[in-house]
């Protein structure tokens, strides 16, 4: 896809979501047009720019698991109760996140993106908050549909 800053509507939705669920971090990962790499294209509330250099590993960590399974994922108290190693969760480490809720973005019926909200404290995202994330993800799917080559 083209650079995200050419899509202010996408950025707007991420920023809005951060306010709506009053979380510390919002991240949007998308599969590259060429090749299978998935990267974090946009973040709000980030502490540093490590997310820009992270390539999501397929099947690993929050984002990688969501891309491979197509199901949402909740972490309430990282690194407790995780499956696999602490180092399988680079975005949690990079941004000092303790809790997160993340959902897949589907394009053409295939999970090719991740929308993640996170907090730097232990937390359980409420059903209302989860719904807000789900809705934002759907809006993003529509907005980005034209920009992801399928």
């Amino acid at each position: 896809m083209t650079e995200l800053n050419e899509h202010p509507a996408v950025i707007e939705i991420c920023n809005q979501l951060k306010t709506l669920v009053s979380c510390d971090f919002v991240g949007l990962a998308l599969q590259n047009v060429s090749g299978p790499d998935v990267r974090w294209h946009y973040a709000a509330g980030n502490l540093n720019d490590k997310y820009k250099r992270i390539t999501v590993r397929f099947g690993k960590g929050v984002a990688g698991k969501i891309i491979s399974s197509g199901s949402p994922m909740i972490l309430e108290n990282f690194p407790n109760e995780i499956i696999g190693k602490v180092t399988d969760h680079p975005i949690m480490l990079a941004e000092n996140l303790i809790s997160s809720y993340a959902v897949p973005l589907f394009f053409n019926g295939v999970p090719k993106g991740v929308l993640l909200v996170g907090k730097r404290e232990a937390y359980t995202f409420t059903e209302t908050e989860q719904k807000l994330v789900d809705e934002s993800a759907h809006t993003l799917e529509h907005l980005l549909k034209a920009h992801i080559i399928l």
Partner: protein, 217 residues
């Protein structure tokens, strides 16, 4: 034979057999599983050319993409377990390869500098030094809360010195005998000791952590 050195021999034996096993699995993943998946991918791409229905074509393309992702992950897993460069090209190229993977995994930049001419190191020692560097970098990703690391190699007449500094939050190091729960640092020290080298760690809250490794030739 006294007790100490026989204990050391056992440790060395365990480490060596573990490394052998890791190497075997890494190779099996890369040459075996990876190659097979690659053959399947080529086969699928061939089948795709003979299919007309757009729906089926699309389905096949998604399957190919999934296999491509799996091949890539298998390759990364294999390199992580035992980088082929460590056996074929030597310590420095292996560390350079690992750093690339490390930056794309954790987003942490590593500035690597090497002074002097690289010297050949026996494989056992090479693996030990590599593992200690790897463990140091993993600790940094886990605990240091930093975006950059400085790594220096100094190849001297009779020893290799490596310095890893993380500019992170630092911590209060405890004597290895005092902490029984976490043994990563103790294991790094022991591993360098078993290869005839040395390992020291120093850390200052707010300034970061430094690790020094030395290996006599």
């Amino acid at each position: 034979m006294d007790l100490i050195s026989s204990k050391q021999q056992i440790s060395s034996y365990i480490i060596d057999s573990q490394e052998e096993e890791i190497k075997r699995i890494a190779l099996e993943l890369h040459e075996g599983v990876g190659q097979n998946l690659y053959s399947i991918l080529t086969g699928l791409q061939f089948v795709e050319t003979g299919i007309k229905e757009p729906h089926m074509k699309n389905h096949l393309r998604e399957m190919s993409l999934l296999i491509e992702k799996t091949i890539q992950e298998i390759r990364l897993l294999s390199v992580e377990l035992h980088p082929p460069a460590l056996t074929t090209l030597g310590l420095l190229p292996a560390v350079k390869n690992y750093i690339k993977l490390y930056t794309s995994t954790f987003g942490i930049l590593v500035d690597l500098e090497s002074d002097g001419d690289e010297r050949p190191i026996p494989e056992r020692k090479r693996i030990a030094v590599f593992r200690v560097c790897q463990e140091a970098l993993v600790n940094i990703a886990k605990y240091a809360d930093t975006s950059e690391v400085k790594m220096n190699f100094y190849w001297n007449e009779n020893e290799l010195k490596i310095n890893i500094h993380d500019f992170g939050k630092g911590f209060q190091p405890v004597e290895p005998k005092d902490h029984t729960s976490s043994s990563g640092l103790a294991a790094m020290k022991e591993r360098m000791y078993l290869t005839g080298g040395e390992f020291t760690i120093s850390s200052k809250i707010g300034e970061g952590t430094s690790i020094q490794i030395s290996l006599p030739f």
